[in-house]
């Protein structure tokens, strides 16, 4: 065949060819905006591998994000994507899921977006037990605005708005989500990517509100002010701090100080999922109208 020519058969991708996560990416928009060594890409990739495992369809999946570094992920994802407003991703997602229960709805948010400005929406989304999977990228800071303190900066942490050390305690976001009524709660790190992928996959298949906290590193803004410095050192730090739920069970609070408890932390399938119970209510009304 002469140069420049190609047959139709050649243009069509082979069915047998295994898909990579590029299938779900707008690769033409690369390189992405995240800094070198930032863990947000790692967590996004873990989500996309979970999506591949489940074979999520692009036109039946809606990914909603708020504002911030983590929320910029949706700009690269080839699903129906909504880059909404700061803190409100879950409110947008609630409207989308209630209007179209058949969609798989994923929310990508950060610790500032999800736990500070969006904290109210987070607890109410947990309470409603709507079938939405929320992945909260926790990098302990506001990266996009330049390293200000977030609710997850932690006591003694440094930030541009905590130049003498932050003196407020953090949330335990997973315990918050569980107490608020989330029926699937898990935590992973950007070091334990295989575990994170599995947790996200199971969260998506769980019929109810799933909350997955992904602890990750921000070497540029958080790492610059808080030891250890550098992406590699921060990642190794995550590795050292992470401890499985099983191992943590026998440990005292003192021993668990500063550790990141990972794994599936809570799962309850006895609570009715909201779109399902709403559909049952509509059915009840229809029947009473017919009578």
């Amino acid at each position: 065949m002469a140069e420049g020519e190609s047959s139709v058969a050649e243009q069509e991708p082979s069915v047998a060819e295994p898909r990579t996560i590029d299938h779900y990416l707008h690769t033409d928009r690369f390189p992405h905006i995240w800094c070198p060594g930032c863990g947000l890409g790692t967590v996004t990739a873990a989500f996309l591998r979970a999506a591949l495992e489940l074979g999520l369809e692009k036109d039946r999946t809606v990914v909603v994000a708020g504002i911030g570094c983590s929320s910029r992920a949706v700009g690269y994802l080839d699903f129906g994507t909504v880059h909404s407003i700061h803190g409100r991703a879950l409110a947008f997602a609630t409207g989308i899921k209630m209007a179209h229960p058949e969609f798989t709805v994923i929310v990508l948010t950060g610790d500032g977006d999800g736990a500070a400005i969006g904290g109210n929406h987070l607890i109410h989304a947990c309470r409603r037990n709507l079938d939405i999977t929320t992945i909260l990228f926790n990098n302990n800071t506001y990266g996009m605005t330049g390293g200000q303190a977030s609710p997850q900066t932690g006591m003694g942490g440094y930030a541009t708005t905590a130049p003498f050390g932050f003196d407020e305690p953090s949330f335990d976001l997973c315990r918050l989500a569980e107490a608020a009524g989330a029926t699937y709660v898990a935590r992973g790190t950007s070091y334990g990517v295989r575990q994170l992928q599995k947790l996200i996959r199971d969260g998506i298949t769980h019929p109810g509100f799933s909350f997955i906290e992904a602890v990750t590193q921000c070497p540029t803004e958080y790492g610059k002010r808080n030891p250890p410095k550098g992406p590699v050192q921060m990642l190794e730090n995550l590795k050292e701090k992470a401890i499985s739920r099983k191992k943590a069970e026998g440990m005292t609070p003192e021993e668990l100080e500063g550790r990141i408890v990972t794994g599936l932390l809570h799962r309850d399938e006895s609570v009715p999922e909201l779109t399902a119970s709403y559909a049952r209510m509509l059915e009840r009304i229809r029947k009473s109208a017919d009578e």
């Binding site: 707008h26 928009r29 692009k58 036109d59 039946r60 999946t61 809606v62 909603v64 949706v74 700009g75 080839d78 699903f79 129906g80 994507t81 909504v82 880059h83 909404s84 407003i85 409100r88 409110a91 947008f92 997602a93 609630t94 409207g95 989308i96 209630m98 209007a99 179209h100 969609f103 109210n120 929406h121 109410h124 709403y278 209510m281 509509l282 009304i285 109208a289």
Partner: protein, 392 residues
């Protein structure tokens, strides 16, 4: 006309008297216009709208959500709208303030939705069960950035019904949020009402048939390709300045073009959007421009003033924004002065003044004690002004 309303609806309307509250008429209009998603948060004096929706939407297979606050309410409405649902929310001043950021998002993302603001006296908690028109400028300029706005104002119960239908139609056709303003008195008063009664009104601005339901009307050409989630194009929707692909751009030329197009779609169709009614055209030496409850008083004042020898023209505006520029300027050319009664300190009078001051004098008549402006008040003020101008 056979009402399709469900068995539940009959309980909402007192069948014997057909006395319907303004807020309920608004909800009926929304249902007739095809609204099938409502998210709201309780607030006086608008709560009855969401109460009717809570009862009626499930009966027609729609979704009703009581959200955790007004921010969540409008965001849920925008979310539903992005999937193609016709959505609406209702609130009052304080809640309307909370919604402002998301209204800007809906403008930027071209997501149609309707926001009904039943206005109370403000600022802050103010007097929640007292009529006011204090949110006119908030409706126009509440969200940040340069943006277009479509704002309608209801003056009676029938208006609550038909302007809600018009708002849904405009929202769909222009793919942007549309705001319906009602004074507390308009939301809470009860009047003889049925959709047929509402259909009998005819406006000077055109034969807009409010009895027809307008589900998914044709979009104006300036709208960018709609971004409906759950379709084969699986689009990206963002509040960032974006280009025709839907993805963000920092290109100065494209940014300006995009923002201008958002404005153009409203400006180019001002004739369609500006709903108004003129009484006594060309017969008055003076004119009253009014909207909401004050327009009712103005219409009543017309007869009273004639009896007292003051020929007056009344321009009743149903659309506050986009500004009916040509209508106001034509009026300004024919009259000696324009009086604008409002339940605020002259928010709309300022708009009319800048349009009309080359040709006539614009006098603001504001009232902020929580009482209505009566027809007598208007006539007395007109007589005073006529005397002043004659002696001058």
């Amino acid at each position: 006309m056979e009402l399709w309303y469900t068995h539940l609806m009959r309980e909402t309307i007192d069948q014997d008297s057909l006395l319907v509250q303004g807020n309920r008429a608004c909800a009926l209009g929304a249902l007739d216009a095809g609204v099938r998603f409502f998210a709201g948060y309780p607030i006086t004096p608008s709560s009855e709208i969401m109460e009717v929706m809570a009862r009626e939407l499930p009966a027609v297979g729609g979704v009703f959500m009581q959200m955790e606050d007004e921010i969540a309410s409008i965001c849920a409405c925008i979310g539903a709208s992005l999937t193609g649902e016709i959505s609406m929310t209702a609130t009052s001043g304080p809640g309307f303030s909370l919604m402002q950021e998301a209204i800007g998002y809906a403008i930027m993302a071209e997501a149609p939705t309707v926001i009904v603001n039943v206005m109370r006296m403000g600022p802050s908690t103010g007097r929640p069960t007292t009529p006011s028109q204090g949110d006119v400028m908030q409706a126009r300029w509440g969200t940040h950035g340069d943006h277009p706005a479509i704002v309608l104002a209801a003056s009676n119960v029938a208006d609550m019904y038909r302007l809600t239908i018009a708002a849904v139609r405009f929202a769909q056709r222009f793919r942007m949020p549309v705001i319906v303003l009602a004074d507390e008195i308009v939301g809470h008063m009860r009047e003889s009402f049925s959709p047929e009664i509402a259909g009998r009104y005819r406006l000077t601005s055109g034969d807009f048939d409010f009895t027809e339901t307008y589900i998914h009307p044709e979009m104006v050409r300036e709208v960018h390709p709609p971004h409906e989630l759950g379709t084969l194009i699986h689009p990206h929707v963002t509040g960032l300045i974006h280009d025709e692909t839907g993805f963000p751009t920092n290109d100065p030329k494209k940014s300006e073009q995009f923002l201008r197009e958002l404005h153009d779609k409203v400006v180019h169709h001002r004739g369609e959007l500006c709903l108004y009614d003129v009484k006594n055209v060309g017969k008055g030496r003076v004119a009253v421009v009014a909207y909401g409850s004050c327009a009712r008083s103005a219409r009543a004042a017309l007869k009273l003033a004639e009896q007292e020898g003051i020929p007056v023209e009344v321009l009743h505006l149903y659309t506050l924004f986009p500004l009916p520029v040509e209508i106001i300027q034509e009026l300004a050319r024919r009259v000696e002065f324009i009086l604008i009664p409002e339940l605020n300190l002259g928010q709309y009078a300022r708009e009319v003044r800048r349009l009309a001051e080359n040709w006539t004098t614009v006098v603001s008549m504001g009232r902020i004690d929580g009482n209505l402006i009566t027809p007598r008040d208007i006539v007395d003020r007109l007589a005073e002004l006529v005397g002043k101008y004659e002696s001058a």
